[in-house]
Homo-oligomer: 321 residues x 2
């Protein structure tokens, strides 16, 4: 059997877990408990992995640096998840109640804010370029959310709109993780850019697959409900492709425009989507993006870390959760 993609950095990932747990510590015990509830509840740690692998692939030797940066990125990412769940009225994440459901909205907003500050503290020793990367990515995340919000329930949304949304929501942060790792390892500009663009594309593919799993995934293995994007009228690629279907497109459009989405509408829409070629098209699109991504890594010399990045990219599109 193949080794999992992350086996060459398992030690570093374990250090990330420890550092995140140590850092998320406040005088107020409930606040500590809430932050740890979110951050230490599993998660694939793709962002720290991107950072650590990029660092190693550029020859970096002191893993404590990308471990701190990767942990910072993961904590900031987790903070945005808390706020996303509030915005989306999400109830389940990673198989557990979302933070604002388990505690309260007020406390969840505050805990998210505190996590931002902890994330940035972890960056306080590192080069200011890294802070610039994460700030740029955060601005892009915000912008992505705005564009997404503006296209809710809008059947005129295009594939380009969607790519713009997921670029901001996901890909820019992946890119910032990889560039930070490569940069602090002393990688050349060409290497930093190559790893950044690779991670950006992997981020796009990751989000496409995520959105596709929301349409076809198994709720049990996903650890969350399916059809939630539809429930909120979010414009995702599987819906956009399905709305282009000759036989069922118009009906799906009408359902997607419905502002008051019931569970019934979701079930009907999911059934209609499954009758189109939307899901295979989405997965093919993700695979195509990953193939492009892999070619971008040519300037990076071969190493177990480069191979691990390539396996990570394959894992992204072949996962079922």
């Amino acid at each position: 059997m193949d080794e999992p993609w992350h086996s060459c950095i398992d030690d570093e990932l374990a250090s990330c877990e420890r550092l995140m747990e140590e850092s998320l510590c406040f005088e107020n015990e409930e606040l500590t408990e809430m932050c740890r509830y979110v951050v230490l509840s599993g998660g694939k740690r793709l962002r720290p992995s991107m950072c650590i692998l990029s660092y190693r692939a550029c020859g970096g030797e002191d893993s404590s640096v990308p471990v701190a940066i990767g942990s910072a990125f993961e904590i900031v990412h987790s903070a945005t998840l808390i706020h996303d769940d509030i915005n989306d009225q999400g109830e389940i994440r990673r198989g557990r109640k979302t933070l604002h459901k388990e505690y309260t909205l007020t406390k969840a907003i505050v805990a998210g804010d505190c996590m931002f500050t902890i994330g940035f503290r972890l960056l306080s020793g590192v080069k200011s370029e890294v802070v610039d990367y994460i700030v740029g990515a955060s601005g892009a995340m915000g912008a992505g959310e705005f564009v997404q919000k503006d296209h809710e329930h809008a059947s005129g949304v295009t594939e380009d709109d969607y790519m713009q949304i997921i670029s901001g929501k996901t890909a820019e942060l992946f890119k910032a993780c990889a560039m930070s790792g490569a940069y602090v390892a002393g990688g050349s500009k060409e290497q930093v850019d190559a790893l950044g663009m690779f991670a950006y594309k992997v981020g796009l593919a990751f989000q496409i697959v995520d959105d596709t799993l929301d349409v076809v995934g198994d709720p049990h293995s996903m650890g969350k409900a399916v059809g939630t994007d539809l429930l909120e009228g979010k414009p995702t690629l599987p819906v956009i492709y399905a709305m282009q279907d000759e036989a069922h497109g118009d009906e799906i459009k009408a359902l997607f425009e419905e502002p008051d989405v019931t569970r019934d509408i979701v079930v009907r829409t999911l059934r209609l989507i499954s009758m189109t070629d939307s899901v295979p098209r989405c997965l093919e699109k993700a695979r195509e993006i990953v193939r492009e991504a892999s070619r971008i890594l040519d300037p990076i010399p071969d190493s177990i870390y480069k191979r691990s990045l390539l396996s990570l990219a394959s894992y992204i599109v072949d996962r079922d959760r």
Copy 2:
């Protein structure tokens, strides 16, 4: 007529305004507009002032450093105000609609998050101790909100509970501003601590007066509604003192415990509070704290900046908005 307390740093405060406006700039225009809507809508700039005056009082000469730190603190503070307004369902701030009312809840949460990152970017060049100060203050702010939440509508809340709440919500950030300014100016440990404790106490007094104005202030000059704390069942000092009143205390307690507060209940409670000695007691408490604060500044040599800090402290308790 006396000069206003801030006249010796008006140039630096103008630089703060410019720096905040420049920094709050995203590719997404609406995001930029939202952040500027909040930060550039006036406000007393007490936090940057604390930072700049402390820096100057310790002999610092390059004002660009405390201007950047002060702007960072003001932006982070503004981000927490956005999230506070969401939590409190506030509708008016500084005479204008709150951000989530003018835009949407989703966009307001995201804009707040983006502001955090911009605030921290402004700190990316400065000494890591400053980042530690702000992170400590943010944790305390979170904890203060938690304690406040736990005492909503609870007539058993004590003056000590209240002091703990406002210590976290307000005083710790004031302290961090002053300590940061004094520290980067190269002040001695004694000076850094003295300015920090001074600012901490001024922060306490500021919040007591703020909470008192919510009970007696003129809605027009305040730029926001009065009685809002009562509407949310927030445990503030004027309510705590009023609940101790022999003649009206029990009735005020009963009204404060009411979970579904109507505008009628607020009006009745405000009238009852005005019949007790609560408001003068609160103002005397604030003045006493400011007197203590002023004595703490003894280790700081006399200068226009030290005098300005003392005037700021007097202004805090004598303002009507």
